[in-house]
C-alpha cells in the first residue's frame, strides 16, 4: 500500500472530528445532516483503509453497504427537512423543542 495506514487513520479521524464539530455547532438542519455524512464517510475511509491493510475484502463490502444505507438515510432526512420547513417556515434545529421535559 502506497499510503501508510497511519495517514489514512489520521485523515479519517480529522474528517470525523470535523463532521462532529459541524453537527454540534451548526443549527441549520441541512448542515447537521452534512456533518453526519462527513462522519459516516470518515468511517468508510477507515474501513476501506483497513481492508487494504489486511487484504480482506470485508471492509470494502461494508463500505458498499454504508453507501447504500447513507443514500437511503439522506433521502428520508432531506424529505423530512422539506416537510419541517413547510410546517414551521424554518429549518433551525432549536426551533423544534416540543420534546422539552
Amino acid at each position: 500500500m502506497i499510503v501508510p495506514f497511519a495517514h489514512v487513520l489520521a485523515i479519517s479521524a480529522a474528517m470525523f472530528l470535523m463532521g462532529l464539530a459541524c453537527v454540534l455547532v451548526r443549527r441549520n438542519l441541512i448542515m447537521i445532516l452534512i456533518g453526519v455524512e462527513v462522519m459516516l464517510n470518515a468511517v468508510g475511509l477507515t474501513l476501506a483503509g483497513a481492508s487494504a491493510l489486511w487484504n480482506q475484502v470485508d471492509g470494502q463490502i461494508f463500505v458498499i453497504f454504508l453507501m447504500a444505507m447513507t443514500s437511503a438515510e439522506v433521502s428520508i432526512s432531506l424529505a423530512m427537512v422539506v416537510y419541517l420547513r413547510r410546517r414551521r417556515g424554518t429549518i433551525d434545529a432549536d426551533a423544534f423543542d416540543e420534546m422539552r421535559g
Partner: protein, 623 residues
Amino acid sequence: MTPKILFLIPLLPLLCGALNALAGRALPRRLAVALAVGGVAAAALVTLACWPLADGGGTRTVLYTWLASGKLQVPMAIYFDRLSASMTLMVTSVAALIHLYAVGYMKEEEAYARFFALLNLFVFAMLAIVLADNLLVLFLGWEGVGFCSYALIGYWYRERKNAEAGRKAFLVTRVGDVFLGIGLLWLFRLFGTLSITEINAGAHYLPPVLATILVLLLLAGACGKSAQMPLMTWLADAMAGPTPVSALIHAATMVTAGVYLLCRFFPLVQQSPAAMGAIASVGALTALYAATCALTQREIKRVLAYSTMSQIGYMFLAVGAGSVSAAMFHLFTHAFFKACLFMGAGCIIHLYGGENDISRMGGLGRRSPVVFWTFLGAALCLAGVPLTGGFFSKDAILAAAAGGGHPLFWLLLGVGLVTALLTAIYTFRLLYLVFAGECREHEPDHHLSPLMLWPLVPLALLGLGGGLLNLPPMVGGGETLTNYLGSLAGSAHAPSHLAESVLAVASALMVLGGWLLAKRLYGRGPAREESPLAGFLLRGWGADRMVELAILAPFRAFSRFFWRGIDGKVVDGLLDSAARGCGAWGEGLRQLTTGRISRYLAAFAWGLVLVLGWFLVNLGWGG
C-alpha cells in the same frame, strides 16, 4: 321422645330470627311479629315438653360435630340437666312475655324486622349459653349475646348517644370476655376437652392454686357480662335502648349469664375457697355500690338499672357463699319482677309521652291502675317486703352468707343487710315519686295498647308468688328448688333455724326502716336541694370519670403518641422525605431535557468522550 328434640329450643328462635332478618321487610307486619313471638313461645313449650329429660343426671345430646381437628373435637352438644332446664324455662317464658310486650311497644316503629330479628337472636344466644355442653358453643352464645346487646342498645343509632351506649356495652363486656377466653383455653389445655360436664367431673384433680386462677378468670368474664365491679359502667348507659331490650337484658338474658356461668361451673368454683371469697366480695360490694347509686338517680330506667346491678351482686354473693340454689332462686324471682318493673317503666314513660325523669312525674296511681298495681307488686318484690318472692330469695342468700363460716362472710352479710335497707329506700322513693301525690309537670295523656299492659300481670304474679319455688322450712316450705337441683344446688351450710329466723326478722326490719325513711324523705315529692353527695351518687361514684382518668386518658395519650409521634413524625417523615428527595432529583433531571437536538447531540458527544476515555484509562492500566 328423642333427645335431639332439645335442639329445637335454641333453633326455633334462631330460625324465626333468621326469617325476620332475611325477609322481615317483605312479610306483612303481623306475620313478622307473630314469628318473633311464636318462635320464643314455642321454645318455651318445647322446654316444658322436654322437662322429664332433665331428671336424673340430665340428658346430653349431640347434633353434629362442629369442628374436628386432631385432638380438638367440638360437637354441637346440649346438656339438659335440672340447672339448665329451669334456667331455659325461665329465659324462654320471660322472653316470650317481653316479646309480646315489644309488639305493643314498637307499634310505631318502622324498622321492626331488624328489631325482632335481633331480639330473637338475643334469645338464641342466651339459650346457647344455657344449654351448651361445650365451651366453644358457650362462647359462641356469650359473644352472640354481646353482639345483640350492642345492636339493640344502639337500636336508635341515629342519635349519637345511643350508638355510643351500645359501643360502650360491647367494649366493656369485651374486657371480661378476654379473660373468659383465656380461662376457656386454659381449661382446654388442662383437661384436653371442651366438654363442660367432663371438666366439672374432673375439677377436683386440679391443684388449688390453678383452680383459683381459673375461677378468677371465669369471674372476670362473668363480671363483664353481669355488670359487676369493676366492669359495671356499661349497664346504666344501656338504658339508651328500647325498653323491651332493657327488660330482656336485665331479666332474662345477658346479665344473668355471668351468674349462670359460675353456677354451671360450680364444681370447679368450689375447689377454691379463696376464689369463692372473691366472688362473694365482688358481689356484695357491687350490691352496695349500685344500691347507693340508685338512691339519687332521676331517670326511672337508671334507677332500675342500678337495682339490677345490685341484685346481681346478691346472686354473686350467693354463689360465693356456695349456694347455687339461692343464686338461681334469686335469679328467677329477680327475672320475673325486674322484667315486670322494666315493662312497667316503659308503660309509665309512654303514658307521660316520653318523660323519664321521676322528679317530674307523680300521681300516676289513679290514672292507670293496671300499671300501678303490677308495678307496685314487682317493686315490693324488689324491696324484699316479707312474703313476696324477692323476700324469700334474698333471705336465702343472706342465710347462705351467714352459713359461710368464715369471718369474711359475716362482713359480707352486714353489707348485704345494709344493701337491703338501701334497696327498700330507693324502691319506695321510686314508688312515691311516680305514683303518689299530684302530677308535677306533664299530665299523663297517652293511651297504652293492651299488649303492653297484660304481660305485666303474669310477671307481677310470678314475682309475688315466686317464693313458692323455694319456700324455706322456716315457714313450712319444702325448699322445692334446692331439692330439685339436688347435687347441683351447691355446698352451702344451712345456718341454724334460730339464725335464719333472726335474719328474716332483720331483713324485714330493714325493709320497714327503708319504707319509713323513704316516706319521710320523698312522701311529699322529690328532694329540692342538690347536695354534693347526691351528685356524686347520681354520677355513680364518678365511675365513668375514674375509668376515663385511669384507663382511657392514658390510653388515648399512648395512642396519640404512636399516631402523631411514631406514625406521623417518624414513619411518615421518613417516607415523605424519601419521596421529596426523589421528586427533587427528578426535578433536577428534568432540566436536562430541553427538547433541543443540539443539546442532546452535545451530550451524546460528551458521552462518547467519556466512553473513549474509560477505554483509554483501562488500556493504560491493563498494559
